[in-house]
Amino acid sequence: MNTVVLLTLTGLGLAALYFLVASGLSLVFGLADVLNFAHGLFLGVGAYATWWAAGNLPGAGPDGLGFVVAVLFGVLAGSLVAVLVELVLIRPLYSRTIEQVLVTVGLSLAGVALLQATWGADPRTFPRPDWSRNVTSVLGAQVPNAGLLLIVAAVVVLGALLAFLRWTRYGLIIRAGVENREMVTALGIDVRKAFTLVFAIGGAAAALAGALGGVYFGTVSPGQGGSLLIFAFIVVVIGGMGSVVGSAYAAVAVGLLQQFVNYYGTSGLGDLCVVGLLAVVLLLRPQGLAGKVAHA
């Protein structure tokens, strides 16, 4: 019994991590129609910026309020980088999707290499509050606090994104802009601003995932973002492009599936099952679980 509880809760923690990575990806991918391979870079920036801040920024630290400041700094840095990327690299290329892919691939290579050139290839210990290393006993299962933190963060991010899409005009503008940017401008809307905003949010979500991922793994390394990205892509696609809710469902499905199959099955089967799930979902419902448009 407590194995099941343990696996469920840690599975949800994993799902939360996937969701945090996927949410930003899904937003940018589904709404701005940019297949953003540089998302892993934003993640890395968020993680390293948090790591740096905790050690060097006055007021920030590995614990208590200082930790919150450090994470905020990381998130800010991530969204700043995302905005810069959008302004400088992506903006001139809207409606040239394949070239965008090239640029984001280039960016992910160059960015990760830059992180490595600056901080080395070896994992660095991540500053984190002591409580995050401990466990909480839930129904007899020793659940890591870092996982619980991820779950809480994921729920908050989900709520915030839904509110943004539902209550602001930006959701609408972005969806329309994906279809036909020209026409949105012809309605008197500065569509570029909306797209920059999407990147800023996507970057912030990624950076948060990076920072909390750091807490979860206990280390940061340049390639960390990339390895999470593949599962995030799977989550985004299973969930349905641009659907934040869909990503949430898919993340839970993927996280739990992986966790349970890894325990009850043989090693590696978990990953195979996830990939199988992806193929099956797409063959049955090519638009993903939650349909195709960004109905928040």
Binding site: L107, L109, G111, L278, L283
Partner: protein, 369 residues
């Protein structure tokens, strides 16, 4: 629409369908042949290109590098049959290449088959695999198709990494057992034969892609790229044509794998990764999708950079720079990534568009003279 991620393949008219009319009109058909001959006699040259290659053109190191570049030129050209010519964005093309590499390696090293048998079996197997998986994946379109192909390739990657029965060697890879191989393909002194083999492969792929693109089927593929529904209404089954293109491209890729494993002398799991497919995409876009020479050039250039940048990164020129420059520059991937980004801005439409971009210049010059 979300599908527009793949709507974008380039508005290039296939050269093959619209023979140009220029001063070189009479000569043009022979240019590829000339290029082939030049490439074939290249190993007889002792030309030294300092900075570009480590040694003279006929040194084993240079020939080895060129051979790898040529294989990837061919691979990119084959991938372009899917992407540039038909508008199918597959993220799993590495699988068929890897099938070629591991297939040959396992059949030669573990099963002890003679090379030619292993090669034939592998190419047949790779083609069949492409046909089977394509038949399933092509039930979806657009980004879903990209992801299903990615999923299949990922399964391949996991299986290779799992190292079932010690067949693939997992992350350590599987060195090719050369004891049964023809002597002409073994040893540094025979690198030139591998070069010629790679050249032959490239020529084969270019010929196939060229012929197919200029064939009635190629015309249909070009139509598919623009509007699949319309093809159906004209009385052609889009599924069949896409499957043919997918299978053909898969077969060409696995043939490339056979050549590659001989050149490198072993298989390693790098080649099963989705990054390889992504690099293929980059090669094609870098070169100019849907053009005859663009993907080839893109593939060659990409591989050249990929291999040479490691030497560039550790060169004295870089090391003597201040740290904030030399550190990133000594990371090959940093330079490679930056090159992609710059390429997009400075050569939109890929290398192949350079010619047309230079045309106004040339015209201006000739007018003046």
């Amino acid at each position: 629409m979300t599908n527009s991620v793949v709507d974008a393949p380039p508005a290039q008219v296939p050269d093959e369908l619209t023979p140009g009319r220029s001063r070189w009109h009479g000569l043009r058909p022979y240019l590829p042949l000339v290029a082939l001959v030049v490439a074939a006699v290249l190993p007889y040259s002792t030309l030294n290109l300092p900075g570009i290659f480590e040694g003279p053109l006929n040194s084993p190191g240079t020939l080895q590098l060129l051979a790898i570049c040529l294989v990837f030129g061919g691979l990119a050209a084959g991938y372009d049959l899917l992407f540039g010519r038909t508008g199918m964005l597959s993220f799993g093309h590495a699988l068929y290449f890897a099938a070629g590499v591991y297939g040959t390696d396992v059949l030669v090293t573990k099963a002890g088959l003679p090379l030619w048998q292993a090669a034939v079996l592998t190419v047949l197997g790779g083609t069949t695999l492409a046909a089977l998986l394509g038949a399933v994946a092509l039930r979806t379109v657009g980004i879903a198709f990209a992801m299903v192909t990615l999923a299949f390739a990922q399964v391949g990657a996991i299986l290779v990494a799992r190292d079932f029965g010690g067949l693939t060697g997992g992350e350590e890879g599987l060195p090719l057992d050369v004891s049964g191989l023809p002597a002409a393909l073994v040893g540094v002194t025979n690198t030139v034969n591998l070069y010629w083999l790679a050249l032959a492969y490239l020529a084969l792929v270019v010929l196939v892609v060229h012929r197919v693109s200029g064939s009635p089927t190629g015309r249909v593929l070009a139509g598919l790229r623009d509007d699949e529904r319309r093809i159906g209404v004209l009385g052609l089954d889009p599924y069949r044509f896409k499957l043919v293109a997918f299978t053909l491209a898969g077969g060409l890729a696995s043939a490339g794998g056979v050549v590659y494993v001989l050149i490198v002398g072993g298989a390693s799991p790098h080649i099963t990764s989705s990054e390889l497919t992504l690099s293929l995409l980059v090669m094609v876009v870098l070169g100019g999708p849907g053009t005859r020479w663009g993907p080839v050039l893109g593939g060659i250039l990409y591989m050249y950079l990929d291999h040479r940048l490691t030497a560039f990164g550790s060169s004295d020129a870089v090391n003597s720079l201040p740290a904030f420059l030399s550190h990133p520059l000594s990371q090959p991937l940093f330079v490679l990534g930056t090159v992609f980004i710059l390429a997009v801005y400075f050569f939109p439409g890929g290398l192949a568009s350079l010619r047309s971009r230079l045309t106004p210049l040339r015209r201006a010059l000739t007018r003046r003279s």
